[in-house]
């Protein structure tokens, strides 16, 4: 189909996660942003990894 959807999903969540977590670390009292940002980063990494693995197979 020209584009493995897992790649943009992974990248989007990686970037939003980094933004959130970064904002959470720099601002006091933002534990939620910090932790949820990290969760999103992990999800983004998993998606990107799956996409890269999938491509090497094809």
């Amino acid at each position: 189909m020209g584009l493995d959807l897992r790649l943009p999903i992974g990248a989007l969540f990686l970037i939003i996660g980094l933004l959130l977590a970064g904002y959470g670390w720099m601002t006091a009292g933002m534990e939620v942003d910090r932790w949820w940002g990290l969760v999103m980063v992990v999800f983004g990494l998993v998606m990107v990894t799956l996409a890269r693995r999938g491509r090497s197979k094809v």
Partner: protein, 581 residues
């Protein structure tokens, strides 16, 4: 109501999302060469993507916000819209109907009707569907403009035009693939945007048991048993015992059978996602894959509404739910002088109440995403039905493929423009919109009877199907015109032909209207079919159950077979119902 203010980080998250949406459109543009690519995503979508899109196409923002509102009004019984009103129909369409939709190579649901019955049955379905999608997309835009104006102070015109421009850009470029990809993106955004909302909310009210205890007070204060808001089945014995105002028979037949099968099994907006799948097995698995997250979505979209009722620190009419404002911005009161709660704001107020800067941006982006993919889904379904079922059938029959691809892009632009007009019409003439939605409900109610007879009884004729559809629609209108929910005035709510009976709630009336329409269509279709000439068996090959080879699953490992998936989905749904009975 105090407006929320977004910080720089919130806008940054939103901007990243917009960049990705447009980027996906631009990249996909390169792989769109034919009508098949544009309208059917090249029939190359894997089951998991088609499945999540199948789910998300239905999960527009109105659904997200409406289910939160229903959660606040009806409590956990709202989950019947998922466990009774969606899962069984999704299993049915996957196992039993997809072989015909996908196997017949029809490019749309109306086109299946043409293949199975005749031109006039297709025409009535195609025209009503095309008009309906444009209005749905317009109403979605209107709801978005209104919500963000109220919540964030954004300009109505600006939010409508910007979102329309973005939707237009990515559907114009990438067609159905673009729409499907963005629906999957939206699915993950909703999950990641709402899961922390539910976690924070539940934590603040003392978990599920704390929520139960607090809602018991709400329940008894309205004259129900303490568990009426937190038990889905135990109070369904009589309409007066539960806040939904319906008894189990009306619920199961009206919602669980007629309305839900009518929507999930015949609505091209969702069926189109499965038609785009890369194989017959993938097409049949599409609704089943969608059923897994679907059965868990009540926790994401209904719980926020329930928590909003009892969250501490709310300044609303009940908990966080604020008072309703009329079009002029004046507070609304009942005839007795009590303030009226605006339940549609339950979920948005939850976002504002529980989320700090950053998380709020994520939540708002998730809502924006579901508004926009709701529009995109309607626009891509519209351009297909317009191009293949109306333009190619009645205006220009034998043009080359490139011409129809061009027409599809034109229809995309026109569809978006018409939606904008509809959005403004909705903001000016609210009653006209309510009336149109009512008419659509009449048209849709009998549809499943036509499809079920067409697919499973080869004797059904085109004349029978057409007459049944018209009779069912009329029956729906007449039933609605003769009945009224209690404490409503005759008019759009019903009773315009004189009130014969009253129902305990709007929903009870809606469900029974659907039951009457379906039964009428079913009976009339059979009667007319018996006295008209059926088509030859040879012409119905691949269109009717008894004349079609069963889809072969034996080559798949048992774990991957659609039937196995369906049984797992059924068992899990049953367990959920038992837990929350």
């Amino acid at each position: 109501m105090a407006q929320a203010h977004l910080a720089g980080i919130d806008y940054a998250i939103m901007a990243v999302y917009f960049a990705f949406v447009l980027g996906i459109g631009v990249v996909l543009r390169r792989s769109v060469h034919t009508g098949n690519d544009f309208f059917l995503a090249g029939r190359a979508v894997p089951a998991w993507i088609a499945g999540l899109a199948f789910l998300s196409a239905n999960l527009g923002a109105q659904e997200v916000i409406g289910m939160g509102a229903s959660g606040a009004k009806y409590g956990v019984a709202t989950s019947h819209f998922y466990w009774v009103g969606a899962i069984p129909a999704m299993i049915f369409v996957g196992l039993f109907m997809m072989p015909f939709y996908y196997g017949s190579r029809a490019r749309s649901v109306p086109e299946y009707l043409k293949l199975r019955f005749d031109e006039k049955t297709r025409a009535v379905n195609a025209v009503s569907f095309a008009v309906m999608t444009v209005f749905s997309s317009g109403i979605s835009m209107y709801a978005m403009g209104k919500l963000f104006n109220l919540l964030l102070g954004w300009d109505f015109t600006a939010s409508v035009l910007v979102s329309a421009a973005i939707v237009l850009a990515y559907t114009f470029l990438g067609g159905l693939t673009s729409s499907i990809y963005n629906e999957v993106l939206q699915f993950f955004l909703i999950v990641f945007g709402f899961a922390p909302l539910v976690l924070l909310g539940l934590k603040s009210v003392g978990g599920w048991t704390g929520l139960q205890a607090r809602l018991a007070q709400v329940s008894t204060s309205q004259g129900f048993a303490p568990g009426a808001y937190t038990q889905a089945w135990r109070h369904m014995d009589a309409a007066a015992h539960n806040p939904v105002g319906i008894e189990w028979f009306g619920l199961v037949m009206g919602l669980g059978f007629v309305l839900s099968f009518g929507y999930w099994c015949t609505d091209f907006l969702v069926v189109q996602r499965a038609m785009a799948a890369d194989s017959m097995t993938a097409a049949r698995r599409t609704p089943l894959v969608a059923a897994f997250p679907k059965m868990l979505f009540p926790f994401l979209v209904i719980l926020p509404g329930m928590i909003a009722l009892v969250a501490a620190g709310g300044h609303g009419v009940i908990g966080l739910v604020p008072q309703k404002l009329d079009a002029m911005g004046h507070a609304v009161f009942t005839a007795q002088g009590a303030p009226v709660a605006d339940f549609d704001l339950a979920t948005p107020m939850m976002l504002v109440h529980y989320f700090p800067a950053g998380m709020l941006g994520l939540g708002i982006t998730a809502l924006l995403a579901s508004f926009m993919s709701g529009m995109a889904g309607n626009v891509t379904a519209f351009n297909t039905v317009w191009t293949y079922d109306l333009y190619q059938s009645y205006i220009k029959k034998d043009a080359p493929d490139a011409h129809y691809l061009w027409m599809g892009r034109v229809a995309t632009v026109v569809g978006v423009l018409l939606s904008i007009v509809a959005a403004y019409a909705a903001s000016r003439f609210n009653n006209i919109m309510d009336m149109l939605q009512l008419v659509f409900a009449f048209v849709n109610a009998p549809l499943f009877a036509t499809f079920a007879l067409g697919m499973f009884w080869k004797r059904t004729t085109g004349h029978g199907a057409f007459t049944g559809l018209v009779a069912g629609t009329l029956a729906a209108a007449i039933h609605h015109g003769l009945t009224l929910p209690v404490s409503a005035v005759p008019g759009i709510k019903g009773g315009f032909l004189g009130v014969v009976t009253t129902y305990p709630s709007d929903l009870a009336q809606t469900f029974w209207t659907a039951i009457v329409a379906w039964t009428t269509c079913f009976v009339v279709t059979i009667l007319v079919s018996l006295v008209t000439r059926p088509r030859q068996d040879a012409q119905l090959n691949g269109l009717v159950w008894s004349l079609t080879d069963r889809p072969k699953d034996e080559h798949l490992p048992w774990i991957k077979r659609p039937v196995t998936l369906a049984l797992v989905v059924l068992a899990l749904t049953l367990i959920l119902n038992l837990i929350f009975a």
